[in-house]
Structures are given as C-alpha cells and as structure tokens.
Amino acid sequence: MISSHLQLIKSFVVVGLGAYGGGLVTIPLIQHEIVTVQAWLTFKELASLLAIAQMTPGPIAINAATFVGYRISGFSGSLVSTLAVVLPSVCLMALVAPFVDRICHNLHVKRIQAGFQIGVLSLIIFATWSYGSVAITGFFDLLLALMAFLALVASEGKLHPVMVILACGLIGLVVY
C-alpha cells in the first residue's frame, strides 16, 4: 500500500512537472509514465480516460491523476496522486511569483522559453504519432480522426473540441 502510494507520487510529480504548455502536451507524458513505464492502464483504458478527461472539467493531468490513483489504490490513492500532480506547480509558482515582473521581461528567460515552446511542439507532433498510431485501428478510424481534424481546422478553433469529440462518439456509436 505504502509502496504503491510512493510510486503514484513519484509518477505524478513527474507528470505535474512536465505538464508544460498545458493540455494536450501532457498526453505523451501520461502515456509514457502510466502505460509504458508503470503499465497501470492499457492503452485502450488510457484512450477512454483521455476522451473522458476532455469532456469533463479540469486539466487532463489532474483528471488522469485522480483516475489512475483510484484504480491503483482506491480513494487514498486518488488523493495522493492528485496532490502529487499539483505539488510541482505550487512549489515553482511560490518560487517564481515574487520575481514575476523581472522574470517575464528578462531576455535570457525569454530565450529559454522560446526553446521550451519548440520542445513542446516536438512533443505534440510526437504525440500525434504515438497516440494516433495506437488509437487508430482501421481505415474508418483514420477517416473519423481526419474529419475531426478538418472540422477543427475549418472552424479555426471556434468549434469547441468537446463538440467534435461528442460528435465522433455518436458516429462511433452508430458505425462500430
């Protein structure tokens, strides 16, 4: 029990720390920690979890922490995982907040941040492949993912992602 809690804390501190740039960037990280390293969920379970996380309130990282923690060791597991995923944010913000004005306009910080942004882009492109290649299992899946992509591109982001996900779920209900 204690050892599984420690493992949960370790994994979700890493997820919280790496959730840089927010939202979908966390997907490759969660996939790495939860499916590849720890094998706490199968990929299929993770894909369902991510779909649910996108349709329910709150950041993906927190939803994933609560869910996985609960699966591994019940309520106490969900509590420690959720705290663990929030912890890096709180510590780092406490450290940085007093110097906000100086840091935001510092050229050195801006150069590092520009590099971080590119790193995040690399992760998203990698996630498109690492997530997509497992989630998409046939020709119709590919078509549906393409439709979701094109719907978002055509609406220039004005269409809420949740609507697109729900619509694809309903199409899935009819077709699969």
């Binding site: 709150g58 907040a97 935001c104 150069r111």
Partner: protein, 201 residues
C-alpha cells in the same frame, strides 16, 4: 516582493477565503478541458464580473502561468488566489479549481467504469478517443504556426522529435534540452520576430 506586486495587492479588495473558494470552484466546474480555455473563464469571473483584478495585470500573469511548468489552470489559480488573499487565498483558489474535477472523476471511476465494457459504450468511447487523435494533430498545427518562424526553430523541433521518438528520451528531458538549445540558438532578433507574429495574430 517587487514594488508593482505590492501595489497590485493593495489595490484589490479584501476578498474573503470563502468567496475565493466559491469563485474558483465555479471556474473549475465550468471549464471543460482546462488549460488556456480556463484563462477566458477566469478573466470573465475575476476581471469582468467581479472587478477583483485589472485586465492588464491579468494578461501579464497569464504569461507567467504558462512560463512555469504544471497545469496552467493550477498556476493561474495560484497567482490570482495569492494576489487576493496571500497563501490562504492561493490554497483556496487551487482547492476550488481542482475539487470539481476530482469529484467528477471519482464518481465516473466508481459508478460509470463498470459499464465501459458494454459494446455500445465501448463504441462511443472509441469514437471519442479517435477524435482526440484529430484534436492532438490540430493543436500541433496551431503550435507550429505560432512557433516555427525560421529554419533554426524548424531544426530544433525536428531534433526534439528525434530525441523523444527515436532516442526515447523522457518527454520532460526533451523539453528541457530544447529549452537549453533554444537559449543557445535564438537571438534577440528571433524573439522579436516571434513577438511580432503573435501581435499580428
């Protein structure tokens, strides 16, 4: 604490912890997906509706919230809560933001999970999961448009993909090494160009 931070603190009203908690609970409850989507809701609640925070301060703080690792929603809650009522305010704001998703996911894990293997539910979730793949690709496109502005950034991006995809470097180390290389690679002129691009958009 810097001088402007002080003035920002004194200019805000004295807001009770209970009010901070209630406001951020509402924000947490009504923000689907989290992240930057939450920034719009927070702005609506704190700046437009309640006048707790000034708009230009808020925009500055959002860029800090995205600068620091961690879920953006939590970072925003920390900054705003701290400004409204110090450490207690930060605690209240974060708890308020996280609690709704914590409760909802617990409810789903307890009561809805057993039905996930039903064929119809499985088909629905599979459709949703496939859509998420399209959504990831879309956010990649948005990110690329915003951040790729010269050959150097393109090469850095490819190198990052190489590190995470082929060397199997941990995603966190990949982002850190990109930050380090970006520091060496990007000049003040590059940053100016990217800033211009952002303001044009």
């Amino acid at each position: 604490m810097s001088a402007s931070y002080q003035t920002a603190t004194t200019s805000t009203h004295d807001v009770s912890s209970r009010k901070i908690f209630a406001t951020f609970f509402r924000i947490g409850l009504f923000t689907l997906g989290g992240g930057l989507a939450m920034a719009t809701v927070v702005r609506h609640e704190l700046v437009l509706k309640r006048n707790w925070v000034k708009d230009e301060d808020f925009l500055n703080e959002i860029s800090t919230a995205t600068l620091v690792p961690g879920a953006i929603a939590v970072n925003i809650a920390y900054m705003q809560g701290r400004k409204l009522r110090g450490p207690v305010g930060a605690f209240m704001a974060i708890t308020g933001t996280v609690l709704p998703s914590f409760i909802i996911i617990l409810l789903i894990a307890t009561f809805a999970m057993p039905y996930f293997s039903y064929p119809k539910i499985e088909a629905f979730l599979h459709g949703c999961a496939v859509a998420v793949a399209g959504q990831i690709a879309f956010s990649g496109l948005i990110f690329a448009r915003r951040n790729l502005h010269n050959i150097a950034s393109g090469l850095l991006c490819l190198f990052g993909i190489f590190l995470v995809g082929f060397v199997h470097l941990h995603p966190v180390w990949t982002v850190i090494s990109s930050g380090f290389l970006g520091y060496l690679l990007f000049t003040a002129r590059d940053l100016k160009a990217s800033n211009q691009k952002e303001t044009n958009e």
